[in-house]
């Protein structure tokens, strides 16, 4: 690892000042579970590491029945999944965040870091996408909101400019008769990167026999987390039955563009897209009916 300077600003303003001055040679660190590994193997060699954990705005975690959930970009996973409102209203976020790494990783890692790291395999991004989350991005003097579905632009790349940082992720308030779910396939039972991950969001009609809207987003099968809009189009207004869900699985498989690597072959990943999409949609339906 190369020697690197370290700063820990305690206000958003000073953080943004640092970024306006030397954002192009700075890397932001939240939990550090991605960035420190990259520094160590020298795939990133910034001059400055800026720790974001002392910035108050990035530590916000709040829920409001009208506006939904605000997740500060430096909130560690363990705080998120232990939060009573998150557990009650956003179980899919619990699905995602309790499988990232193990206990020691979850003590440091953040959803913000997971999003900004922008790996195609990131376990929280499909969930954020299906829940319709947006990212609040700030630079000196400018705030913009970007839907998470448009945030990632390629493996490890995203819409952030070098003078910008993610401040919060905002998840809309839950609607009636709706639920979401995330699952991934790994050959082991922990400590692995998703071979395929599937987040699903389902909203049913009041009687629970028709889909009103469905979102499905896939991890690890394309250069970015994939939002399968074909499924949303196909399922809305359709009956809840095995045949339609089977077809949704097929659509996920067709939409996927996986590669073959050490974690699985393209063929196998496509196969899993269909299997996991069906399972995840069924789990979301179970959640609605169980509620």
């Amino acid at each position: 690892m190369k020697y690197v300077d370290y700063e820990r600003p305690t206000s958003l303003k000073s953080a943004l000042d640092i970024l306006s001055e030397k954002g192009d040679v700075t890397k932001i660190m939240a939990g550090g579970t991605d960035i420190l590994v990259k520094l160590r193997v020298r795939s990133e060699q910034p001059d400055l590491l800026m720790d974001s954990k002392e910035i108050p705005e990035l530590n916000e975690l709040s829920f409001n029945h009208d506006t939904g959930l605000t997740i500060g970009a430096a909130v560690p996973l363990y705080k998120l999944y232990a939060d009573a409102d998150v557990k009650k209203y956003y179980p899919a976020l619990v699905d995602s965040t309790t499988i990232i790494g193990g206990i020691p990783i979850q003590g440091r890692a953040t959803v913000g870091g997971n999003l900004c790291n922008s790996a195609p395999s990131a376990d929280s991004i499909p969930t954020l996408i299906v829940l319709g989350a947006t990212a609040s991005i700030q630079s000196s003097g400018k705030l913009r909101e970007v839907p998470v579905s448009e945030f990632c632009t390629g493996p490890g790349s995203n819409v952030l400019k070098s003078n910008e940082m993610l401040v919060t992720i905002n998840v809309p308030a839950p609607a009636d008769n709706s639920a979401a779910h995330y699952m991934r396939f790994i050959p082991r039972n922990e400590m692995d990167i998703a071979v395929v991950g599937v987040g699903s969001y389902v909203k049913l009609n009041a009687s629970g026999d028709k889909f009103e809207s469905v979102n499905v987003s896939l991890a690890s099968v394309a250069p970015t987390p994939l939002n399968v809009t074909e499924i949303s189009k196909f399922l809305s207004g359709k009956d809840v039955n095995d045949e339609n869900i089977e077809k949704a699985g097929q659509l996920a498989k067709e939409a996927s563009k996986p590669i073959s690597d050490m974690r699985g072959t393209a063929e196998y990943r496509q196969h899993l897209c269909s299997v996991l999409t069906k399972r995840s949609i069924n789990k979301s339906i179970e959640r609605i009916k169980g509620a």
Binding site: K2, P187, G264, T265, E267, V275
Partner: protein, 748 residues
């Protein structure tokens, strides 16, 4: 659960005391290889080849030396030359630092020492190596094809024990023959054959290799390292650096796992050469990537097996061909694999061919029963197939054909007393086997496996303290609780409590020659040496008592920790009382024991595996697992069970997910613990254990080393379970979810 039929006759052996090193290890106080510190210590890093096969045209390290903080750089030019052309020393040196060619990705090229490890690492980027790329040979099939690129241009194939003039990538072809194989197959009613392939896997010890070397100006060298054998390290350092063993001291630190992988040395000679140039002690710690790419994994390759059998279940012929990857230098475990492939079965007609094959991968090293799992993956599946075809219970079928004492192994020797039949019997009677397995996509598989106890030299000494305790001085580095199991044997022989024995593991200047902690030998051989040292102490104490009492030496009896004399029933003294008198009766007592046992027995192990396959994802979940093994006599049953569970865990990982995943360019893509996919605790079932005890008569307490055989049967047992769960036979490892899905989709 222990299957002990005889009444208890020992005081200490068979109990489960705490290990002496436990507290320091769990509190982090124990000093492992990487923890060593010393005044003036500097840090080394190693430049490694990015190519699997290339000629080194030039190396220029001027710029690295110019970097502030860099103190020394070494390359193969700093190693002694090889005047007598000793091929094997040439290979050893070549693997330490590549000379003319790099033979695998990760092959060491140069070492850099600097004031801190980060500067040393930066300096690696400044070394310029000019390569001429050669085509890489990545598996045995490719390497055995005569048109493949030759890896060692000046070496020739040995065939049937003789050197030929053939220059290819086969280092050796050997054959073992018994009876008449053609006749054996002619007499068979049923013949089953199959070719079973495995891929390269790593031992996966938690602690990476770490060593510090100090080359003093007087020419003496001290090395502090994490090793399975300080004496073999000393010998190897002497060979590679061409300095006498008397100039070298190896000080073993605590070791965080080895499984055979810490028998060879890697960075020690580089650290020594750097220290010689720099004048400082030099420490080198490997990263996990280096551990995967640059140490010694166990080979992939194939085991082809053909077995003929009568309808009544009697085996008439067994034939096998095994070809294993040696890695970049000769010496795969195919020789041992060929002795294990049919070890469990009695058959008069056998033929086994073995090939040691050079490929552009790291030189393989020992890994727990090296070669036997690869062989059993073939044999035990063919045996399973036959028992299924004949409709005979797979344990019964093995029992019908099990070897007994006096039966010959394929290379000639007769089997000594062994516990195979008792292992099979315990498998059959086990709670797991007695329970029915119900439900679809589920299957139960069983298998057995064999591994040797190598014997080899061990030495111990014991000194008596005046408070009645003793110090036990040994040279076996403690990986799996051997301080305890050796101290227990000394305590038993001395008839004193376990915690009256204080074991110390010392350096190569302080105890007699002791071979590696490996080969299932430590509890056997070092335990035996401790027993001899204890007997020596006991005899000297008897002599001392006879002198004190003025009675004949042979009238003194030592029983239940008390000295007494037949000459006078009034005379009696405890071990502790006599120990307190040593100063005034002739001075302290030190006993010694050395041994190099021959004709040591081996150990059979069995596995029973119940598993379920998810037909949609191809993932296998192990529902229940029992490990059964002959321990001869379990000195410390908890540590025997620990070995059985550890071997099973590694076997499960090897069967289901572990592999060196290479891309088309001969580069390993998954050299991290994240992607290498060893099982975590969540991937393993509770592993039930059944210890079988059929004593080895060549050991005073009947010990059989249990460190290795337990990794052999899990792999075929899992394959056999998968066959019964899915109806499909698996010919390749790993049997991971994508492989299962593509298998299930075959013939659909």
């Amino acid at each position: 659960m222990t299957n002990i039929k005889e009444p208890k006759k020992y005081e200490v052996i068979g109990t489960r005391p705490l290990r002496p090193d436990g507290t320091d290890k769990v509190t982090g106080r124990a000093i492992y290889g990487g923890d060593f510190e010393m005044t003036g210590l500097i840090h080394g890093k190693i430049l490694r080849s990015p190519h699997p096969h290339a000629r080194i045209k030039s190396i220029n390290y001027d710029k690295a030396l110019e970097l502030e903080g860099v103190i020394a750089v070494v390359t193969a030019d700093d190693l002694p030359v090889n005047p007598d052309g000793n091929i094997s020393i040439g290979y050893s040196r070549g693997n330490i630092l590549a000379k003319d060619k790099v033979l695998y990705v990760g092959h060491a090229i140069a070492g850099v020492a600097a004031i801190d490890p980060h500067i040393a690492e930066e300096a690696l980027d400044l070394i310029e190596v000019d390569y001429e790329l050669l085509s890489a040979v990545m598996n045995v099939e490719e390497a055995m094809d005569s048109s493949s690129e030759i890896i060692h241009e000046n070496s020739f194939m040995k065939e049937f024990g003789e050197m030929t003039v053939t220059n290819n990538n086969i280092d050796e072809h050997f054959q073992h023959k018994m009876g008449n194989i053609d006749k054996g197959f002619e007499n068979a009613d049923l013949i089953v054959e199959g070719k079973y392939s495995t891929v390269m896997v790593h031992q996966g010890y938690i602690e990476p290799q770490a060593a510090t070397a100090l080359w003093r100006t007087d020419g003496s060298l001290t090395v502090w390292n994490s090793t399975q054998g300080s004496f073999p390290d000393r010998d190897e350092l002497s060979n590679i650096l061409d300095i006498p063993i008397s100039k070298i001291k190896v000080v073993p630190l605590e070791i965080g796992g080895g499984f055979g992988g810490k028998i060879p040395i890697y960075q020690e000679p580089v650290a020594a050469l750097l220290s010689k140039k720099a004048g400082n002690p030099v420490k080198i710690i490997m990263s996990r990537k280096e551990v995967f790419e640059s140490t010694g994994p166990t080979p992939g390759g194939y085991t082809w097996v053909k077995i003929g059998v009568k309808n009544d279940g009697k085996i008439t012929a067994m034939q096998s061909e095994l070809a294993f990857e040696a890695g970049a230098y000769p010496g795969s475990p195919v020789g041992m694999g060929s002795l294990c492939v049919f070890a469990a079965y009695k058959c008069d007609n056998q033929l086994v061919d073995g090939y040691d094959v050079i490929v552009n991968k790291p030189k393989t090293a020992a890994y727990r029963a090296p070669g036997s799992p690869n062989a059993a993956f073939g044999t035990e599946q063919v045996i399973d197939e036959i028992s299924q075809k004949l409709g005979i219970d797979p344990i019964d079928f093995r029992m019908m054909n099990a070897i007994s004492e006096g039966d010959r192994r394929v290379d000639g020797p007769k089997f000594p007393v062994n516990g195979l039949k008792q292992v099979l019997e315990s498998m059959k009677n086990s709670p797991q086997y007695q329970k029915k397995l119900k439900g679809s996509n589920k299957g139960r598989g069983i298998a057995v496996g064999y591994w040797f106890n190598v014997g080899l030299q061990s030495s111990c000494s014991i000194t008596v303290n005046t408070d009645g305790t003793v110090n036990l001085i040994e040279g076996s580095t403690d990986i799996g609780g051997s301080r305890a199991s050796i101290a227990m044997q000394a305590a038993e022989t001395l008839q004193i409590p376990y915690d009256s024995v204080n074991p110390s593991i010392v350096d190569t200047n302080t105890v007699g020659y002791t071979a590696v902690t490996g080969g299932s030998r430590t509890t056997f051989s070092t335990g035996y040496a401790a027993h001899l040292a204890a007997e020596d102490v006991r005899d000297q104490m008897i002599k001392r008592a006879s002198e004190m009492w003025g009675v004949p030496n042979d009238s003194v009896v030592y029983s239940k920790g008390q000295f007494s004399s037949d000459a006078d029933p009034e005379l009696s003294m405890s071990f502790k009382e006599l120990a307190s008198q040593l100063e005034n009766t002739g001075g302290s007592i030190a006993g010694k024991g050395s041994i190099n046992p021959k004709k040591v027995g081996g150990s059979f192990a069995g596995s029973i595996c119940d598993l379920e396959i998810d037909p949609d994802t191809g993932k296998s979940t192990i529902l229940d697992f029992t490990a059964i093994q002959d321990a001869g006599k379990a000195i410390h049953p908890s540590y025997v069970e620990g070995q059985m569970q550890g071997g099973s865990a590694q076997g499960i990982g090897w069967a289901l997910n572990e592999e060196y995943f290479y891309d088309q360019n001969g580069i390993m893509n998954n050299s991290s613990l994240l992607d290498y996919r060893m099982p975590t605790s969540l991937d393993l079932p509770d592993i039930n254990t059944i210890i079988v005890e059929v004593p080895d008569p060549t050991h005073p307490y009947g010990v059989r080393g249990v460190g290795e055989a337990n990794i052999v049967p899990p792999i075929p047992a899992i394959a056999n379970a998968m066959k019964r769960a899915s109806g499909k036979r698996f010919y390749n490892l790993p049997m991971n979810p994508p492989a299962v899905i593509s298998k299930l989709n075959q013939d659909l």
